[in-house]
Symmetry: C2
Subunit: 470 residues, 2 copies
Amino acid sequence: MTDKKTDFGEWYNETVEKAQLCDKRYPIKGMNVWTPYGWKLMTQIDAYIRREMVATGHDEVCFPLLIPQTEFNKEKEHIKGFDSEVYWVTKAGNNDLDIPLLLRPTSETAMYPMFSLWIRSHTDLPLKVFQIVNTFRYETKQTRAFMRVREIHFFESHTCHETEEDAQKQVEQDMVIMDNVAKELCLPYSMLVRTEWDKFPGAYYTVGIDTVMPSGRTLQLGSIHHYRTNFSKPYNITYEDDKGEHHYVHQTTYGMSERLLGAVVGVHADDKGLILPPAIAPVQVVIVPIFSKNNRDEIMAACKVVNAALQDTGFRSKVDDRDLRPGNKFFDWEMRGVPLRLELGGRDLESQVVTFARRDTGEKGTLDTNSLAPGVKLLLDTVAQNMLVKATQYQQEFVKEITTTEGMDSVPDGVILKFGWCGDPKCGHAFEDKYDMKILGTPYRKENWTGKCLMCGKEGIKPVYAARTM
Amino acid sequence: MTDKKTDFGEWYNETVEKAQLCDKRYPIKGMNVWTPYGWKLMTQIDAYIRREMVATGHDEVCFPLLIPQTEFNKEKEHIKGFDSEVYWVTKAGNNDLDIPLLLRPTSETAMYPMFSLWIRSHTDLPLKVFQIVNTFRYETKQTRAFMRVREIHFFESHTCHETEEDAQKQVEQDMVIMDNVAKELCLPYSMLVRTEWDKFPGAYYTVGIDTVMPSGRTLQLGSIHHYRTNFSKPYNITYEDDKGEHHYVHQTTYGMSERLLGAVVGVHADDKGLILPPAIAPVQVVIVPIFSKNNRDEIMAACKVVNAALQDTGFRSKVDDRDLRPGNKFFDWEMRGVPLRLELGGRDLESQVVTFARRDTGEKGTLDTNSLAPGVKLLLDTVAQNMLVKATQYQQEFVKEITTTEGMDSVPDGVILKFGWCGDPKCGHAFEDKYDMKILGTPYRKENWTGKCLMCGKEGIKPVYAARTM
């Protein structure tokens, strides 16, 4: 087994495979099979996203996968951005199609012709919908499970508003949603306004949501876009205000994907296997009976009592009654990332305790049998908090603030740079080309920061972050 | 509004549209947009299917949408059955693909190459998986929402077993699952072994699950297939038994689709709109305040108490506090099929009752405020039972048993025939061609029945049912 520090990429692939999250042997590169354990994790993440969306007044919908070329062609920037990576359906049965159909890379061009029919008056606004669907991008770069695939398990919300300000408020709400979801996954993240040349094709501006892999490369977890009227004009999405005047709607979108699961693996797992955030672990607590001579029935009965008590309190727990040695069971559940293991043997039974082992730190201790459920709750909460704190500290250590490029010929992998940039694309491109890094953007929330442009020396400008990306 | 009896087809389309279950204006024929209300109903149906599958030891998976032509071509009968209705991806970005990819019409040819890798030993069996995904068929017949579409919301389970008998037991289990799901939807159905020329391409035999529309045409809700080793041979899915010998696995599949929702609309709805089975209604109980002078606050407060009491007991209830007249609210909720309406006005409040109105029968009455939740439970159970009984009686009335074709030149629409058939395809085809009907098949459960073949007069044979289909 490769270790995480030596070769992150290889370690990641092995960890995904060992934990049986997906099967990459499907005969199309970058299109993997979601096997049961991976799919359970993904749908649990989906459930949190769905909860947040419903709580903020979004309706779930499901649009067709295929989009006619004629609809796709309406927004010029958007086509340019996706043209090289769409899959085309050109034949059905034995017929060549008159109008080729594309597999959605994202659903703007599927939804907006319908929005134009659905929205008539200001009373139809805001319109807020989301869907969780499969999308497709013909990746030419090397694929990697969950991080860069050709069939993507995708979340997208789309909203329409009366004014630019209303749309802006939606962007802010999306950020709260992101924060709530990221907390369940114990994932640190940053919100950076992307450069003009890196924004979503057709957007007014894009906020990228990034986390950092242990290799120091960043992974985009999602993005939030303000479109202003850039799409409502070509798709003719207008509303009548209370004075009878017609206006184009202002739109936003918010997208996330299976990369959230990729990030959970990459950020939290260790050389023993997965470490799952308690919120998404299909099994949160595994109970392993430790038999000694002649006490098998007694121990099994006690394990079942413990399990029932935990399940009654709402925990996802399980007794591992397989005919295996305890050590093999420990190994197995550690690989699958179960956050808390309970062991119950003769001595535990006598002392009216159970022994616990935390997956995140390996810490062991005992819990009183008569306050088991509150004890488990406290432990799982502590595990979640620790996972987030640890990951946050780890990620921050990659960031290095610089004020000059003097003597800097190259930047090694594993460094995220923070520096001033005047905003001129010329300076930006010059930096990116010279150091083979990407400018991730400037913090969405204003920081108390002053400095000069790293390239041209101009003063009074904003900080940006630059990194190499997964 | 067209009425259900006069023109079922037109009535169905209007009912779907009025209840806003989907939007058919999407610019590809037969690919409709799932709007929020329809999608809520569909995902609630999915939840019951998922519950049944998990309870019977099936693992949920998700396979890629695209299938390489090379894999698709391995089972000859299967290709013949689907060749004329698959969509082909031939281009990605600006490249022509070396091997064309097809959009799954069903997932045998996606899954079985992987099963061949997953299964090694008898300890890997049975393998039981299912998925709920979008599938595609290039329909050339007239499309109809939920009943005949080109992008299909689809459920499919696939199982592998050591022996033909084990596979046969799975078929029986699938039938129990079907029964449990159909009960939640208050849908009567029949299980008929399809004719050889109508079975699933590649199957050993197919059991079709049909229900009857008010027009007397049947609608296939799903099907269960026993494949024997017909697919495991071309896909080389083998296992080693405990003596070290290798055998091909025996396989079954079970498929259902959004037609379940189409059937709920077609079977239960009336000229006022939907009538939803309580199990899937997004709102099971709507509470309408009936204001008179100066009692608005008092009534609203009482409605909220009722609503809280119902929600605490686990009902999906809602107070309609919109600024509309009660009659308009009644109209609205009737259209959306809410099974139970409660009204609360000044007089109800005085008498400590709420007035109820059942959607299925229109029956009105009162419930005591102090035993509201049990009263509502009883009413909803009664509604569900009545819906199933009524639909069952209605469907049975279409069936007409005949022993001779003497004097029968044609069969009018709205008749399902039961008669004897010797099993010879010649007699079967002759009947189908002459009367423009389809032989649905012979009952899976043996009936105590004797008779002669309607066409050739041979004795001691099985009964079959024949109908026109949706």
